[in-house]
Symmetry: D2
Subunit: 402 residues, 4 copies
């Protein structure tokens, strides 16, 4: 098996910390694979890199150590104190591999997180890109890795006003050369990955590799990339429930979704600008599955006392036979990081598998992981899983032929 | 198009009344097809009998007129007073086609509903069967029907102690001949249908055509039948949500389902004996989708003030990555009859279609309609719909070839 | 018994229509007194005017007849079609007593409701006041009433920027004389009532009689007035539940309240300006009962499909012994008008009683009816009821002495 | 200040362990007084024994050490690992003061808990009583205590078939002398306390001091006692919410309460016999506050995965003005022990205060703590708190006079 590095943008955040701690806890036999999609049948049949063999590094603009973050999270329930202790040395080791990151156009609330400024404070865009490329390269070289998967798990940026201006690779590269200060950090990270053929995963609603120019670049270099906005909680439930209404020809009149959460992501989303991108991808799921939906609102509010936990209340007002008005309500209470972290590991494993087999470009079979899957107009969770099932079947058949 | 009769066992109950009133309201343009699965794409492409052309009749042990039942239901919201008025004459007409039914082994609480006794009070089993066959035949002849679909929508019977004794057609027919008073009414109705090649739908958890002997008979005569226990509310939601947990490898520890309802069905289910069958089919869905589920309880309670409405509260305690304990809760509030009635019409249309095309035996593609689909071990709602999609595709291809 | 007129500001709205229809339905024996606080022990012992004897009139800026409004409401469930029919003639009679109203500073969304403009479109403020006073007087004279109670049930205005400038009667009257176009309609209606000694009830969060100058006027004239913002749903529950946490020394960390509703009030509250006043009075209840509450948010959203119904979801995150984090959630589903209408009748009866006995000024014993009770800093529902109990006891003792 | 001992019946259970751990954590400054009713104004003004000065001992039929129980609880969230460590030595010290208890007539599921049998296995009833009295006395003497408060926190017994046979002190004492094996353990513990003038608190639904004969004894000896069935969760919420419906003259049609919990208490309540007593006191609250309630059901189910947590779902179907049907639902999620433990400490402090002042017999001012307060027919939580407020006022006035 080849060796795989995982480079996390936002490496000191809750999701990254939980993913690293979880991977190391698995390696030490301190926890099991519950919550890891790639650990279940039939996906477990793919020849994926072992979670315990993944090597972690990353960028961040914060100074707080991974161990401190893990302890903060632990005081709120996840991971357990025992787990934190078991992986403390691993976290310290990864800490030394975290480089200073960029935060350009991430919004004021992300800037507030930066303890010692960021790359873009001092450098033109083209040099920021060079520094990022150097960091990726050094990580690969220092750890003798066969490949580095770059994963964006940083806080959500505000959406770009005019993404179409970067619709070609040429336009994007010219903007970098001309020090275009409208380019958001997530796109620079993605560019730096794709141009050097590192597989790229955009776990967030930020721009990342979604720009036309970067999609073109990924095709040119035949490097796999995927995204956008991992589907971890309320939207996951929506994508499972909405097809039920459609299937039974029940007319949904209003779907209200009200989310409260208390971590840094919640604080950043307090900012209306940053929230806009998130709401767009959360809302899109229902619009796709229930095209006749009259009223579709999603709210995300910051409730500090919840810390890393999030609660969603959804209220579905629907009409049945003889115009009967009926209701479904649900509440979902989960740990943001415990829901997200295993999906980071799943995506790393699956995109590394694709990269090894030379399957570049958009990874449509990964749609089930995302609220706004790039290049796939399928939001029904079951059908998204069917795409992954087919991928596994195909590889199983190929393996059998060999 | 050929003409289709619908013979309802339990014709004066809420589900039957709402199905008849709804079909007639559709015929008069008083309502739309919301809630009717066969009215949506792609199922609407099948050459199904028009809802407005269906001719209704049935058996019951109650005296109350359909119009009285419809008005009672209307005072509780569904159908609207305007709808009841629009179909009043139709209901009176169907009333005259309702014959006295049988209630053998339906339990004491069903006996309480019988206003003037039932067939089995006075007759040996074999004569009860003969009378039922005569009733079916007379209905077909009097209304010049190409086929009669028999649908069991009567209150739930207690489960049979030893169903295996009726495992062959020969054993069943011998029991009828020997006046075996353990045979439940639902099986007699099913036998009378299948032996004369009337398609049969068991909408309830009662025994119906599930006995080995009746399945054999259906094969012998090549008559289509389907069942068991229509999936209208809480279990429908379960079959949409449980695959999400399985898909994401989230370990469900406990799934509590608490149902309250206030109609006659609720009153009959107060009786622990009658409730047993219902609980078995409701519980089976989760056991199939989540084989490692530690704790799976379903409660059904009678709450008179709810009348024909039912509310379910489900509490799902699950574990995610790093053994994180999380929760999903939902409440579902619906009109029992408004949820069930369109499915009666869907099933009649689909089984009539099968019968016309000579597709006898178990109808596996109808699994999505049932809590305990006969002959299919698939409870995932999306996969059940996929079975119906394939059926439609196949017929579309055949039609294209012709 | 003396005769009592009820002059409703916003007479064509849902609350007014339901109050009138309900009072007349009671008069005709078509419904019972459920929901009417003054109909229960011990309040029923007070010598209050009979609901059936109340004479209704009012102002509005809309043209739609009461009967049309009642029918619209009825299609959504309340009142029943039978009730509407029973009171149709009464509604037509009241319709003829509704005069054109004022809408100054009620916000753009209220202006949108005005079918034919409003008084203030054409007249200086002082003449608007004169017209209103004339309307009150004519109503009293034409129906030979002993007293007229003026009740504001109009849509919520935006809050005043600088209410302190009207802190004395003299300042208020000077503003009227100087055609101060910052004065809101609700204050003009209240002024016109108080200056001519009509008891006044502010059922809404609008300014009404809350200005210092109007409170002074009420004292001068010894005329009873009360308000502000009737407590009908979510806030009622809060005022019952919050004392439980305080009583048990449980520390509430966050209280999230999310309200959705679909009627005109909901539409008007879509406007952030109009919503501000409502949120202030809804939030104040918790701040008073739970002074250490860390986080208190109330949202009100417009969900058109709900029509006159409102649903609230409240999520209470609290801490108990040994810093244990626990949660209470509730959902409340009610008809806005059916909850509000009986309280209008209660308040009319109680303030008429006070007026008859010469009890002018603020009516502190009516605190239980309001989210922001004028002149009383008590939000605990039980203690508010205790104030009313004491009032009844005092009158009972006085009656016994006589 | 005088010294107070606390003798816990069921001393190794979750509630006792949490109460002891919590008291010691407070003594060490490891936690604050959140959740302790006597720590808040105005109750904190009473001259109560300090929580940190309480000396603990007790009876149990289990062998497991307090520290083991505390660690088990801690793995489920409460108390925290840090707290357990801080009080570990204290728990070990209390462990040595726990004597073997009695379990007569506690039901088969309690018997299952007994690791090494119980007192009543070997001894006649009169000797069981003597042994218990000796244990109380030895505890007092060994720790040089001014008083010992006996608190029953053992698992719920099945209710007595014929409690009236013990309606006088004489009848009770004769039964003890005659070795009447129908006497339940809780009554023996209560008798042993009262006869030697130890104040007694019945925290559970078991019989305890509720028998007529024991109430007579308490009067004779002028020893304070109180009970029955501490109000910690769902019923607490009910007693806060039900008065709201009554106050607003809203007619509650159905109140469904569904409780799930996973600790030993839950397991014991699986036994229908043991559950009967619990359901009676839980149901009584609503019957008292809402005498016209049509339908009142409480269910308690055992859901092992919840461990020491309990969740309640309550569904309230009520009718308002114009016969409008509306709904309130709530879910309550709390730690059983963290809710109960501080109330144990509150009751000990308050009954010790009463005892010191010679206030014997039933303690009516403690009604707010119980589901079925002995000797008080008041279930409205606010009015129950008012009784305690009056008690504090009276003592404050007396102290001022002195």
């Amino acid at each position: 098996m080849t060796s795989t590095g995982v480079w996390l943008i936002g490496a000191r955040g809750n999701v990254a910390t939980t993913a690293i701690a979880g991977a190391r806890a698995l390696a030490h036999g301190e926890t099991d694979t519950t919550g890891l999609v790639t650990a279940r049948e039939p996906y477990s049949r793919l020849a994926l890199p072992d979670v315990g063999d993944l090597v972690f590094g990353g960028h961040d603009i914060r100074e707080r150590s991974l161990l401190e973050t893990a302890r903060d999270l632990s005081s709120n329930g996840v991971p357990s104190p025992d787990t934190v202790q078991a992986v403390a040395e691993d976290l310290r080791r990864v800490d030394r591999r975290i480089a200073m990151g960029a935060a350009i156009n991430c919004g004021a609330s992300v800037d507030d997180l930066a303890d010692r400024g960021s790359l873009d404070d001092r450098l033109p865009v083209s040099e920021v890109v060079d520094r990022i490329r150097d960091d990726y390269r050094a990580f690969r070289r220092n750890h003798d890795l066969d490949r580095v998967v770059v994963v964006n798990v940083a806080s959500t940026e505000p959406p770009l006003d005019d993404p179409d201006q970067y619709d070609t690779r040429e336009a994007f590269e010219r903007a970098v050369a001309n020090d275009d200060r409208d380019l958001p950090a997530s796109a620079l990270y993605a560019y730096a990955a794709l141009v050097d053929e590192h597989p790229y995963v955009n776990f967030t609603p930020s721009t990342g590799s979604a720009l036309g120019g970067l999609r073109e670049l990924a095709e040119d270099r035949d490097v796999p990339h995927t995204g956008r906005d991992a589907k971890t909680g309320e939207t996951l439930v929506k994508s499972a429930l909405a097809p039920m209404f459609a299937g039974r020809n029940l007319r949904v009149r209003s779907w209200e979704g009200h989310n409260i959460l208390g971590n840094d992501d919640g604080r950043v989303l307090e900012d209306e600008a940053n929230k806009a991108g998130k709401l767009a991808s959360k809302g899109g799921v229902l619009d796709s599955i229930l095209p006749d939906l009259e009223h579709n609102r999603v709210r995300i509010d910051y409730t500090p006392s919840l810390d890393d936990w999030k609660t969603a209340w959804d209220y579905v007002h629907f009409e049945g036979f003889l115009n009967t008005e009926m209701k479904l309500q649900f509440t979902w209470e989960g740990s943001d990081s415990a829901l997200a972290a295993p999906l980071v590991l799943d995506l790393v494993r699956l995109i590394a598998h694709a990269d090894e087999r030379g399957e570049g470009g958009l990874q449509r079979h990964l749609a089930s992981f995302f609220k706004a899957p790039l290049g796939v107009d399928e939001h029904d969770l079951s059908r998204q899983f069917a795409l992954l099932d087919e991928y596994v079947d195909r590889h199983a058949r190929e393996a059998a032929v060999e």
